[in-house]
């Protein structure tokens, strides 16, 4: 058990650079915040349960002394029951409020200005197509300018796919016959992995792409190429 706990700790520590927790956009930061918050609240619950669990199991385990005892009958305990009904409710409210706020935030997909970049993203078995406003198309890499708002217009030509760049934000499904939108503003240059996150058939695994976030000039240049 000890070894196991050690290993768990090590694994958790190595989590500092997990992609989902290494956000490069406001959306992803908000989501990472929610993850940390819910994790914290839940760790509190786990802690309480673990302490009680280990304490009770240890203290009341069968020993030579108590082997023939008959424990007292005990119907329940009003106060205790109220505590463990109300306390979780409070904790959950603490989680629910930011959840609602951030969920509304990340669902806001309207472009805020004319500057906004629009990219059509099409999923199909088994590749992505990124189409820019000037008609330029790519498949393997999505190039975005840093610090500029982008609205992605996502549709599928066949089955359901899901567009996911962990460092830039949560995924959004790519449906046939319907358009989903996603708004992101990358705030750091770099190359981030993108993946299809909805199982879509034989080569679902291979539906990957790179998201290259570059500075404005480089982006314009690339776009004109």
């Amino acid at each position: 058990m000890k070894k196991l706990a050690m290993m768990a700790v090590l694994l958790v520590l190595s989590g500092c650079n997990l992609r989902v927790l290494d956000p490069k956009s406001q959306t992803a930061s908000d989501q990472a915040f929610l993850i940390y918050l819910s994790f914290g609240i839940m760790m509190f619950v786990v802690l309480v349960v673990t302490v009680l669990f280990i304490g009770f199991t240890w203290k009341y385990r069968e020993t030579e002394k108590n082997r023939y005892d008959t424990p007292k009958h005990e119907e329940g305990n009003r106060t205790l029951e109220i505590i463990w009904t109300v306390l979780p409710i409070i904790l959950l409210i603490g989680l629910a409020i930011p959840t609602v706020m951030i969920t509304y935030d990340v669902s806001d997909i309207g472009a805020t200005s004319d500057e906004t970049l629009h990219v059509n993203v099409t999923g199909e078995q088994f590749r992505w197509t990124f189409e820019y406003e000037n008609g330029k198309q790519t498949h393997k890499n999505l190039v975005l300018p840093v610090d500029q708002e982008v609205v992605l217009h996502l549709t599928s030509n066949d089955v359901i796919h899901s567009f996911w760049v962990p460092k830039l934000g949560g995924k959004i499904d790519v449906l046939p016959g319907e358009e989903n939108q996603m708004k992101i503003t990358p705030n750091e240059e770099g190359t981030y992995q993108g993946k299809c996150a909805e199982y879509c058939g034989t080569l679902h695994t291979d539906m990957r792409f790179d998201t290259e976030v570059v500075d404005q000039e480089e982006f314009q240049q690339w776009l004109e190429e």
Partner: protein, 641 residues
């Protein structure tokens, strides 16, 4: 391997060949062994019985067989994922997709469900003082429907046509246009047939629990496992018909050119709604009975009554009710909009409250008790922290915006294995060790049981804990490969080691069963665990109709109090009539008819559909004129005159 048969080119991958070879070698061995040991009369006895204990055992035996099959699938998955850029045997691309689909579907429908229904079969009637389930014949039918469905699904692999659209079979991938082979037809018919069996089992449970309780055993005096079974059965009544219709619509899309889920007029998302309106209650159908088992076991092995009985029952009911209001938490990324997403996020979080109540009640049941650490209790103890970990990741997933990061990644895979294995599988093992004496008259070896427990639990956490991190590091589920740059190798490597530990632990179960039955020891008495509930007042193994002298119950845990006071339970004067048992091969007829019918549909052979349909109608006729109650009613009428 490729060859020509009747002019068709047949391509057989090596895994299919391996499967056939092992069957061709294995089957004669098993037949020989059964013949040599003279097991056939026993087999026949079980196959034609309507007794709840025997049918329960059949459920469990076949569920365990399917468990090994689906477990081997899991090991193949883990072998393929053991390291980055790996190619294990044939399990890449479609083969990988087939194997995770088979693994998931089998584990849910043909392992977890029948394990629980089997335990309900064995224990529930005894715990409420009933001589059998209300409809013994229907019970046999239910079992054979499960077995038929399971076998149809099982067979797919041998014809190189295992389903490959995931256990969720999302449209449009699951429609004819994108998966045109017979593969997903197996999925439809396997589930349709076994689902009907599940519905029958649920009806049987409800009527049994509502009408066949011993005199004085009011609902409020009932142990918690029957309570959980009752509520679960109600969930089945609502969830499974929805699945049946979803499958029917999918069938129309696949076979008859309807376009419910595809094309310009179809809504692929409608499939997801239907599937999860079934699917989320389904996970509670898996969890609640396990909760019931743990309640009974924890109380028994702490030698104390259940703490907060009333709130336990209310919590069960609340979980069941709320379970129908949360389905769209599986669809946060579909684009239903922030209102729907937050609504379902909040209802989902609400479920944590009754669940928490249960956890604390279990803990406080142990407080001030005397905790005996025998195998069933060990599993119950392993359950509490494991399930709580799965529960808290559940709450994290409920947070809609955050779920957009977790959704369809290994984080989710870790979460649902924590809850399903934590509750259902540990619960089923606990129940198996606990009620094994009631089934067979023997107690399973405690030492081997402990080996099983520790290996399984450690293996489990090794397998699934790292998957949370793999998910957070961007590994989607249902992928057969990852790269070194992905940075998930370590997690996957540990995970594979853990999986093999779990596999090894299952060998101890086999060894234990073998060892327990090899020694020709006397059967144990009625009450090997110093129990509290009624099943421990009748002999082990239970004979048919053990409550001919029906006990009268005056309080909860009546048996325990009677034992404390050194008296036996009073006997009722005029108990109600018991269900009538019968020996019958009719369920086998239905099973054959439905197999023909299903294969007719799976391969689109109309003549076979007609044959199977006619045979099914024939079964109804057979049944209509062979009712086991005929004699009894005739006798009653003569007595009346």
């Amino acid at each position: 391997m490729q060859f020509y048969l009747f002019g068709d080119l047949i391509v057989l991958p090596t895994d299919v060949i391996a499967a056939w070879v092992s069957v061709i070698i294995g089957a004669p061995l098993v037949l020989y062994w059964f013949t040599k040991k003279r097991y056939w009369p026993v087999v026949w006895d079980f196959a034609t019985s309507t007794n709840h204990r025997k049918i329960g055992m059949l459920y469990i035996i076949f569920a365990l067989l399917f468990f090994f099959r689906a477990g081997i699938d899991a090991l193949f998955i883990r072998m393929q994922l053991v390291t980055a850029e790996n190619e294990f045997w044939v399990f890449q691309g479609d083969k990988y997709n087939e194997i995770f689909t088979t693994h998931g579907t089998m584990m849910i429908f043909f392992v977890a469900m029948p394990l629980l229904i089997g335990l309900m079969n064995v224990a529930v009637p005894l715990q409420i003082g009933a001589n059998d389930l209300a409809f013994p014949f229907l019970n046999a039918i239910g079992f054979y429907l499960f077995l038929t469905g399971g076998m149809i699904f099982f067979a797919a692999f041998f014809f190189n046509a295992a389903p490959n659209a995931g256990w969720t079979a999302y449209a449009p991938l699951s429609t004819y246009e994108f998966t045109s082979g017979p593969n997903n037809n197996y999925y439809i018919f396997g589930l349709q047939v076994s689902g009907l069996g599940t519905i029958f089992a649920a009806i049987n449970m409800i009527v049994t629990i509502l009408r066949l309780r011993a005199p004085g055993l009011k609902l409020t005096r009932m142990p918690l496992f029957p309570w959980a079974s009752l509520i679960t059965s109600f969930l089945i009544l609502v969830a499974f018909p929805v699945l049946a219709i979803a499958l029917l619509l999918l069938q129309f899309d696949r076979f008859y050119g309807a376009t419910f889920f595809i094309g310009e007029m179809g809504h692929p998302v409608y499939w997801q709604h239907l599937f999860w309106i079934f699917g989320h209650p389904e996970v509670y159908i898996l969890a609640l009975p396990a909760f019931g088992i743990f309640s009974d076991i924890i109380s028994n092995f702490s030698r104390k009554n259940v703490f907060g009985y009333t709130s336990m029952v209310i919590a069960l009911a609340l979980i069941g009710l709320l379970g129908f209001m949360v389905w769209a938490h599986h669809m946060f990324t579909v684009g239903l909009g922030p209102f729907a997403n937050t609504f379902f996020a909040i209802t989902t979080m609400m479920i944590a409250v009754p669940t928490g109540i249960k956890v604390f009640n279990w803990l406080f049941t142990m407080r001030r008790g005397v905790i005996r650490l025998q195998t069933p209790m060990l599993f119950a103890l392993g359950f509490i922290p494991t399930f709580v970990m799965g529960g808290v990741t559940g709450v994290m997933l409920a947070s809609a915006a955050a779920d957009m990061q977790y959704h369809d990644t290994y984080f989710v895979v870790a979460h649902f294995h924590y809850v399903i294995i934590g509750s259902t599988v540990l619960g089923a093992f606990a129940g198996l060790y606990y009620w094994y004496p009631k089934m067979t008259g023997k107690v399973l070896d405690d030492k081997l049981g402990k080996w099983h427990f520790w290996l399984f639990l450690i293996g489990f956490h090794l397998t699934f804990f790292p998957q949370h991190l793999a998910g957070l590091n961007g590994m989607p589920r249902r992928v057969y490969d990852y790269t070194w740059e992905d940075g998930v190798f370590v997690y996957n490597f540990i995970s594979t080691i853990g999986a093999f530990l779990m596999g090894a632990s299952m060998l101890f179960v086999l060894w234990n069963i073998y060892k327990t039955h090899r020694t020709k020891e006397e059967n144990v008495g009625p009450d090997p665990w110093d129990g509290r509930t009624l099943e421990w007042s009748v002999p082990s193994p239970v004979p048919e109709h053990p409550f001919e002298k029906m006990p009268v119950i005056d309080r909860r845990d009546a048996l325990w109090w009677a034992k404390q006071e050194g008296r036996s339970l009073p006997v009722a004067d005029h108990p109600r009539a018991s269900p009538i048992a019968v020996r019958t091969v009719q369920p086998l007829v239905l099973s054959a008819a439905l197999t023909i019918l299903s294969f007719g549909f799976i391969y689109g052979w109309v003549w076979m559909q007609i044959l199977g349909g006619a045979a099914s109608l024939g079964f109804f006729l057979l049944r209509a004129f062979n009712d086991e109650r005929t004699e009894a009613y005739r006798k009653e009428e003569q007595d009346d005159e």
